[in-house]
Symmetry: C2
Subunit: 258 residues, 2 copies
């Protein structure tokens, strides 16, 4: 009988991304690892699920003989749904997603495939964490990230999150010696200002590439943006009840039934 | 000089879906309408954005000569981003999305392309509403929905929502004479229990279709699920700050830096 924690791993950069390999190595020290990850990059997929196409799920030996791994043709949320229904024979003790190549801080949580995998698990009652490193490059140095990942995951396994939330963990691009610590934060108020790059194809038809500028509108020192800018890893507890409870009273005063 | 409100319309069922035509007809009575909608159905796309492909945006005469309309190759969130950057010459007074063919109540808000279009606008500071009818069929009767849509949209134009929220409006499948009213609600605690349908292709390889059962775990009489079941249209104020503020104190007591 195996009493080690069962840890499910997914991501949105795809099963061959360096970040998920680091995550697997960290989690192997904490429990029995099972990977179900997309077979191709899914960045920016938000909380998409696949309902108009069928899905493939194929076993993979990518992480060696001691890690059960599957690659899936769907989105990160699809991966978690398939893992829970078709791969695992019991509820995992922890779901971790990442390590994403690039930030999922602030409003990026909304667009994040990494976080959607974690949120899918949390909705289903799992302990869940999404990890992201503020470095897009494929040969990013994950040393600092690995330290933070191991610490936060071990703590969640020990302490347990409330059932109505998950964690969004972002790690700054700094050497481990310069990491100031791990800081519990709120999501900064920020947005992307779109600037589409307009081009013309060889046939004279216009097309567009999405680009944009990230604008932080929040001066608070308790935000994830502040923490990351000042050398801390940020940990934001995230909820999936999106109700703006504080607005309900106001709306009731509108008398919508008049 | 045109002083009528400028109203941007999008959806996730695509520009040819009956639901968006009803929405256009309702909004034409309230202001000047501009449509930017996907050129094909995008249900279940969550808050996906297109970052690895370019986007097409083509003018459409689908709604006749008095409605400026575009079809876009991207997701609902892409449509709103393109509309704000490339189509409109000023900020719209209102963004409406839908009318979706099928429910976006409760936890469905997370997977909803309809709501992602509205949320994209709200993040950018717009007044925004997503509308959904609890009827998947293409020949659904939108009479009741049209009544609710017109009432809620007019009220939002008049009263204005706080800048940190948008509305998720769902309409039950009942004749107008049986509609009990419009009810301000919170998002019910619910989830989908996955049941993947497993099949074998002609070459002996397995593939999967996502199906599932919606499970409402919430007995509250102040939820959207309760309202819809009892013949009310539900209005949930939705926020895009996902921080679980009530958990921050608890997490700080974990001493993650030890």
């Amino acid at each position: 009988m195996n009493n080690k924690p069962l840890i499910l791993i997914s991501n949105d950069d795809g099963i061959t991304a360096p970040g998920i390999r680091v995550l697997v190595d960290c989690m192997k020290k904490l429990g029995t690892v099972v990977v179900v990850a997309p077979d191709s990059p899914q960045s920016g997929m938000g909380h998409a699920i696949t309902i108009n196409e069928s899905l493939r799920l194929d076993e993979s030996d990518y992480f060696g003989p001691d890690v059960l791994a599957y690659q899936c043709s769907g989105t990160p949320a699809d991966c978690v749904k398939l893992a829970l229904d078709k791969v695992l024979d019991r509820k995992p003790d922890l779901l971790v997603s990442g390590i994403n190549h690039g930030s999922n801080s602030s409003v990026n949580v909304i667009y994040s495939g990494t976080m959607s995998a974690a949120m899918e698990g949390a909705i289903d009652g799992l302990q869940a964490i999404g990890f992201s490193l503020l470095d897009y490059s494929l040969d990013a140095d994950f040393t600092t990230a690995a330290e933070v990942v191991s610490k936060v995951a071990a703590k969640v396994l020990d302490k347990k999150l409330p059932s109505d939330c998950l964690l969004n963990v972002n790690i700054p691009k700094v050497p481990l010696s310069e990491l100031k610590g791990i800081k519990i934060c709120r999501q900064a108020k920020a947005k992307w200002v779109e600037k589409f790059d307009e081009r013309e194809d060889p046939y004279g038809r216009k097309y567009f590439w999405l680009t944009g500028e990230f604008v932080n509108m929040d001066n608070g020192e308790d935000t994830d943006e502040w923490a990351l800018k000042h050398g801390y890893a940020s940990v934001v507890p995230v909820q999936f009840d999106l109700t703006a409870h504080h607005v309900i009273g106001n709306l009731n005063s509108w008398n919508l039934n008049e």
